[in-house]
Amino acid sequence: MYSFEPNEEQQMLVDAVGKYAANDLHPAAHEAEESRELPKKLISKGWELGLLQASVPESFGGFGDRSAVTSALAVEEMASGDLAGALAVMTPSLFATPILLVGSEEQKKEYLPKIIEGEWRPYTAALIEYSFDFDANDLRTTAKLSGSDYVLNGEKAFVPFAKDSEALIVYANLDDQTQGFIVPKNTAGLSIADEREKLMGINALPLYRVKLDNVTVPAANRLGGAAGHSFELILASMQIASASAAVGVSKASLEYSMNYAKEREAFGVKIAQKQAIAFMLAEMATEIEAMRLLVWEAAWMLDNGKEEAVKQAYLAVTGAADMAMMVTDRGVQILGGHGYIREHPVEMYMRNGRGFAMLTGLAIV
């Protein structure tokens, strides 16, 4: 069957997240971006919505089952409030969800309950590398087996909350495969830059460069245990999250510029009554809906173990990143000179919109 309506449970979640996005994230976004600081209370409130908790089974301290579709809906909604805030709230998922997906029983038992049951605490993951030809499937950071340990070497970039994190998953190249390794804080050879990364957008999210100099972890810390894991499902889940966030940011830009166009007058009418503006808005809405459905389908494929999920997630994030650039650019254009002024959020949406082409790895469904 085809069906395009979230179920009751999903709708309740979307409504709750939507409320948080509109009433908490959105009003705080400008100040957070300018001061490069997210209020702790804001993150805690988002954490209490229980997105991650609801995707972990009871046996590990949660109260539900993971669904990529449900998560995609939630990510879109949250990102429509503020991208940096949304990524911060969901940072612990970067650590917990891969463990939930492909981790060994021991890893699940050790980490999931303590992440889920308490307050929001920064568990994180390091995937991105600072190079022009960065490719998640062809990493420069290496892992080598040495006796019963793995030795990690390399440098990671854009790692959320690395400074304060309890532990992180480091993705590295092991025999030409991307594999994750759990690295607790204070491990010898792990060094985190003092200075935060400075990027074009998502400035409220603390991101760090992380160096690995002969970081040694026991074989049991390899994600999935000694036998390792498949990376493609993790990557697909990250791509779907990134694509959903792109849809959310684009939706925010459309809503803001549409409301502006309905208020702003020129030549005796609202500018939304001019076809030049109205057609831009129509195209933005159409593109957003098209990519939203592509993301949903990818997430549904993932939930249902379809082989095509991996390719579809790639198409979804590729298409959604393009769409986000187009939509957020037009959001600025519709406001004209006002769009260029930082008092209006559309310029921030545009800066955030460009990021989706290279920021897969900062969220996961």
């Binding site: 395009f4 309506e5 499937n137 309905k262 076809q275 109205a278 159409t286 389908e297 549904w300």
Partner: protein, 419 residues
Amino acid sequence: MTIEFETPKPIAQMQTMLQSVAENMMRSVSREFDENEHAIPWDYVEFMHTAMKAAGLGGGLTPGDDKPKEGAEKRPPIGYQRLAAQIEMLSWGDVGFYLITPGGGLGAAAVQAAGSPEQRIKFLARFNEDKPTYAAMCMTEAGAGSDTSAIRTRALLDEVAQEWVINGEKIFVTGGDKSFTEYEKLGKGFIVVWASIDPMAGRAGMRAFVVESGTKGVSIVKLEHKLGIRASDTAVISLVDARVPYDNVLGSATVEKTTTGFKGAMATFDATRPLVAASGLGVARAGLEFLKEKLTENGVTIRYGLPRNKLTSIERDVIDMEIQLRSAWLLVLKAVWMADNKKSNALESSMSKVRAGDVTSKITQKAVEIMGPLGYSREFLLEKWFRDAKITDIYEGTGQINRLVVARQILGYSGKELR
């Protein structure tokens, strides 16, 4: 309800069957009927009529009433979803052929939407007879395209004879020839003519009239020569003092303040826009599949999963085309799913049409470009699909009209507020 993307089994089975029809009865002669415009592919017409009658689809491609058999488990309706998939597959075979699939088409759809139960029985029974039979919709005029309220054709009631007298000229009548001209191999068809019974009343005065084939005073002025969809005839039809029985008017014969007559036509468009989008996407898929096949033959592989900045230009193009095609198809699916579930889908219908109009053209244009001289040559069908594709962004509301509809819907504007 939930979010699901599993193709229902009956639709998947139907697709497999129609694909073999498309390959064997359409693709094999596609070129021939493109080169011989206005020739009728009788093999296809007669085969489809027989096959569809046997399948209980004598009325042509319709969503059907989709009622479960007695005692059978109650399923959600999928009539429009099935229809969209049928149209996509037939158009993948040849969109010109698809357009002349026997049946009532838009003419019958108008009777279905605006006619009384008696009129439906009277006018629609013929499509189930032995011979393939057609009906067409006559809406557009030289001075009234997307702005259908500018229609000049007039219908006056001759009270003594109790007949309507219609005068005017209609253009762009898809299937007008097969619906009106009497062919030995075809059953007696009809055209549905939109005309005003009260020019002062504007849209409220607009009515649709069933005009039987062979009616005196009605003539096919010419058949157009087109860029594409050449297997489908497009007629100019003139009506000079054409007399039509009183009961052939669809809907009320008097003008009230309501605009029901015209709304009937507009409701038809909400239902048919995603279907036209589906048809375009069938053409786009044909083009994209052909391109990928040729690339494979020539040793070019598409490396999905690679970062964008590592891809070749051709890889980026093909990946973009796949994104465009799939996402546009999902818009179609959502619009027809809403129709099946009786949800108002004016916004989604127009969105699907906007997007399909764009991507159908873009995909076929890009495919021709990438194929170079092979794309431009008439040895392959790709250049034909490029020509066929363009109509998707024009008929059943141009891309621009559909942008207007989308904009009005999302802004909450009336036609007056956003012209």
